[in-house]
Symmetry: C2
């Protein structure tokens, strides 16, 4: 058994077992359930049953949950997000505490909108809108090609260009922006040569309106760099402090908005970048 | 104004304006709202107001929505996910149709669990669990280093190794598995030399239990390859068909589970891979 499978299995001895039953991937439902449950001091383990898009699969899911319910001392919590009424009804026969994410809102929305819901399975994460999906895939390729200033070609196609010292979080942020929003995000490192010249890489001067800066605490940067290149000048605290000081000075002098990635996740960084570009 | 900002602004002339108000990123709330609204034939535009974690920001958000409400002919729809009761109450003064994603479920969950919700803002997407977050970042680095068979080093640390012909979707899937699940996903292309030898790259033979295959329709593969390398043998339909035939044959002969990425998004592919490894 692979390592990550073992970890998952070990988490079975939890106070509560939480199932997510979805007719699509169930990714959003799982995230939503997780943020609701984060409101409780609860030891739980989540199991997601995706792609329940047929009555047979609904019965299989019920059987699986029933079996689990018989051996687990506490009532199972079941989050469902199933648009088909028949499939949903089957899942509702489970001996579980059911949180129906779909039913709770569809009826009030129908009333407000004066529209009937289609009840058509139409996953958010299905390839559905092929153009939007291909835009995301293209953006991922773009981010990979333009990672770390590797390529200047087609830079004019970039939506956003992240800048910052090496290891300040530019690569994962670029990939996240591409993957989730289909934004073409390039990234360029600010390096000692730039600080000596007191100027951004020349290629960037044509694209100043697309620049967004990332910075980071020197101590954390030194830690991250030490992992990669232990006991080097590059990773030393003093050098990190110097690089960050120079990078921030240059960004301020050029009116580039920047934020610190030290205590922010890529989701938070990306959200802040979008907010900034849309002047929210 | 940048291209992607213009696109967003153009979408303002919609039947309905939908706001998402969150004390964190609001990413999950936006996705959840999008999948609910996908149930209606509705022309709408979403605006997300993240990080409403203070009363002042709540008042600013209300002002912004009020201003918008005055100029838009139809009632605004407002999805909230705010754990702080005071902040939530302020947002509830908006002249909008309010869908309170949080309140709908917290009270029933409190009752079922016999626990009070903490009402502490604690975003799913906050860096919070630093270990889990660093695992994700490490996994992204791993996926980048082990993309397209670039590096054999530390391959034993891989959780999953994707294989398939060039451009079958391995890279975005590896990055997605890393970014969302912190899984170390390497990927190796199956190339003509492998088909001639009728054997996987030697380095993979030690890791057969970690292999998962991607395949794709020949026509779609030819299209994708033509974008990159027009009018080459590599991109020709016949060559694509041949490579896919050989790759699938090798995967079947070695009992490697594989799926077709032709009509599947990376989210669906990743979900299926996890299902397979967990024998769901």
């Amino acid at each position: 058994m692979l390592e990550f499978q073992k970890q998952k299995q070990n988490s079975e001895h939890c106070e509560r077992i939480v199932y997510i039953a979805s007719d699509a991937t169930g990714i959003t439902a799982e995230k939503f359930a997780t943020s609701l449950l984060a409101q409780f001091k609860l030891d739980y383990s989540i199991i997601r049953i995706p792609f329940i898009d047929h009555i047979n699969k609904a019965h299989q899911a019920v059987e699986r949950i029933n079996t689990h319910a018989r051996i687990h001392p506490n009532k199972i919590i079941l989050f469902t997000t199933l648009v088909n009424a028949e499939i949903n009804a089957i899942l509702h026969t489970c001996p579980a505490f059911i949180v129906d994410l779909f039913q709770a809102f569809i009826q009030p929305l129908e009333q407000e909108l004066g529209l009937q819901s289609t009840h058509v399975m139409n996953s958010l994460h299905h390839i559905g809108n092929i153009e939007a999906y291909e835009k995301r895939m293209e953006a991922i390729n773009f981010a990979l090609m333009h990672d770390d200033g590797q390529s200047h070609s087609n830079l004019e196609l970039a939506d956003i260009i992240l800048i910052g010292v090496s290891r300040s979080g530019k690569t994962p942020t670029s990939l996240y922006l591409a993957m989730q929003y289909g934004l073409k995000a390039a990234n360029y490192p600010l390096i000692p040569e730039d600080f000596e010249r007191q100027a951004f890489p020349k290629i960037l001067t044509k694209h100043m309106d697309k620049l967004f800066g990332l910075t980071i605490d020197a101590k954390r940067l030194a830690n991250i760099r030490h992992e990669r290149a232990p006991n080097t000048h590059y990773a030393s605290f003093n050098n990190c402090m110097h690089e960050i000081y120079e990078a921030e000075k240059m960004m301020r002098a050029n009116n580039i908005t920047y934020l610190s990635s030290t205590h922010k996740s890529i989701e938070e960084i990306a959200t802040t970048i979008l907010q900034c570009f849309f002047k929210n």
